[in-house]
Amino acid sequence: MTDIQISAFSATWILVLFGVAWVSWGWYLGRKNKSVDDYALAGRNVGFALATATAMATWITSNTTLVAPQLTYQFGVWGMLGYSMAALGLILFAPLAKRIKRLMPQGFTSGDFIYARYGKSAWIIFLIISFCYAVGWMVSLGMAGGLLLSSLSELSYLTGMTVILVICVGYTLLGGLRAVIATDFVQTLLIITGVVIIAVVCIKDIGFSTIHQNVSIKQPELLNLLFPAAIMFFFNNVFFGIGEIFHSNVWWSRAFAFGDGIGKKAYLTAGILWLPIPIVTGFIALAASSLGVIPPSADLIGPLVAAKILGSVGAVFVFIVVFSALASSMDSLLAATSDLLTQDVYHRLINSTASPSELLTANKSVVILLGVLTWILSTLKLATLGALLNFTGAFVASTIWPIVYGLYDRRLPGKWAALAMALGTTTGLCAYFIIGFYVAAISACFVSWIICLVGLRQNEPLFDWQSLEENHRVR
């Protein structure tokens, strides 16, 4: 065990207060939901401020508050910068969001698009990829909740993981996307304030020169700009971040939910605002050697350093900030994945004549099932957060080129898109297990790209953009 900062009593009270606050607010907001469009897409009319906040808060997650320090602790300066490059996912998605809304104004999910654009084979592979990614991300968030509580308080890993799942499932279930977006807004404010305070105290109390001196002596490779594994990791993380956003229904559902003309501006602004956050959160990991902190697991370095800097009161503060970050991602993922499974699996495959109320019930049932599945997998604690997240990189990076060509280039046939995603993922997984987690995404993306380039040279009939909207109307 590490140094315990928060008593079980205090930790339980914080969890109860947070739980009641978020779930009650979710219930309050959910009263306005009258249809599946309201529940899943917040009425398709989200404004610029909320749109930017939800995009930013969703992207500030356990990745940013726990994995950015982990990667800085493992890969040094490159790890910190590489992580911040995940902002490119949001920035590059900005034009895509506009295009998506224009091509499919009444669309529901990313799966809708893949089915209409590439056909059933590609759609099945895409759904498998999306599901593996969503489960991997949700499990990492559940794990992060457990790790957070067990490292900062006397409560166990199992308790922390269970509580965060119950709270997020609770308010997502009651409020749908409207609750997710509203809570994200408040969570963004909490997270940014907290992260800035921790970084300022770290610099003020320890100082740049002390940190630099200690890292130079005890962890010299972290400052080495020619650190080989870190160089390998850099673009891997860029493609992982882009793949996560380009394919995931978390971001597509927001593109559909945002009002006309909002998506591009909101994603661009959110990306620019998000860019410095991993640098700030990652930076505190460099103070570990100055404080004599050696983590029992690399993914705990952020909370442990922050708690050490701020003391027992600070531990509560860190707890609230990271808890907010976890909740803001978990709820978004639950909402978006349940939409995807409801629309693409239940509605398309199981009950194509489902009424709006049946769809709403199915959607809520899927939220609960996802919560249970995540709980079961999180209890297994299979890997560190960074390793688990990058495992999903092999899946998502293979979708980047099929999504880009699918949205803009009429020449890429469905069977080649399917092949690109399948072989790209396979290659990425081989690289993950044989070389390391830091090469999975880049390998997957490269193979997928080559296959797409071959596919573009096939003389097959060009795709008709009109059929995207027609396909959705037929449903």
Partner: protein, 133 residues
């Protein structure tokens, strides 16, 4: 196994996987060391680089926890010792051998090229789609 290695070799531009036992050799400069001692009666952890050219000893305060993760280590042969006033208990030895810079750069350049291509394709296609409209 050989075919799998060949496949990886092709797809990742000549990255040969490390075949040395995982617990004793690392390529990334970080390692998790399990605490298999039953007593907490130590005050320091010594991380000793025994390489002739870069011999050094780094001292960390002892924390009684299940494992310790050390990172940012340069290439070399290391010994971990737990120390109290009366004795030094050797915990384990391990080797850090970083990937070659040439191979790492090849992957970096591949990433850079693919990223440049993605940006160019994305914005040229987006521009073209707006012009078509």
């Amino acid at each position: 196994m050989l075919n799998l290695r060949k496949a990886t070799l092709i797809t990742t531009f000549l990255f040969v996987p490390n075949l040395v036992e995982a617990m004793t050799a690392v390529n990334e400069g970080y390692i998790a060391i399990q605490n298999n001692t039953s007593t907490a009666n130590y005050h320091s952890i010594y991380l000793i680089n025994t390489n002739e050219e870069h011999a050094s000893t780094i001292q960390f305060p002892f924390q009684n926890q299940s494992s310790w993760v050390f990172s940012g280590l340069p290439s070399g042969h290391y010994r971990v010792e737990l120390v109290n006033d009366a004795k030094r208990n050797e915990l384990m030895e391990f080797q850090v051998e970083h990937y070659s810079f040439t191979k790492a750069s090849a992957l970096f350049l591949l990433g850079l090229g693919m990223f440049g291509s993605l940006i160019w394709r994305l914005f040229s296609l987006d521009h073209k789609s707006r012009s078509d409209t």
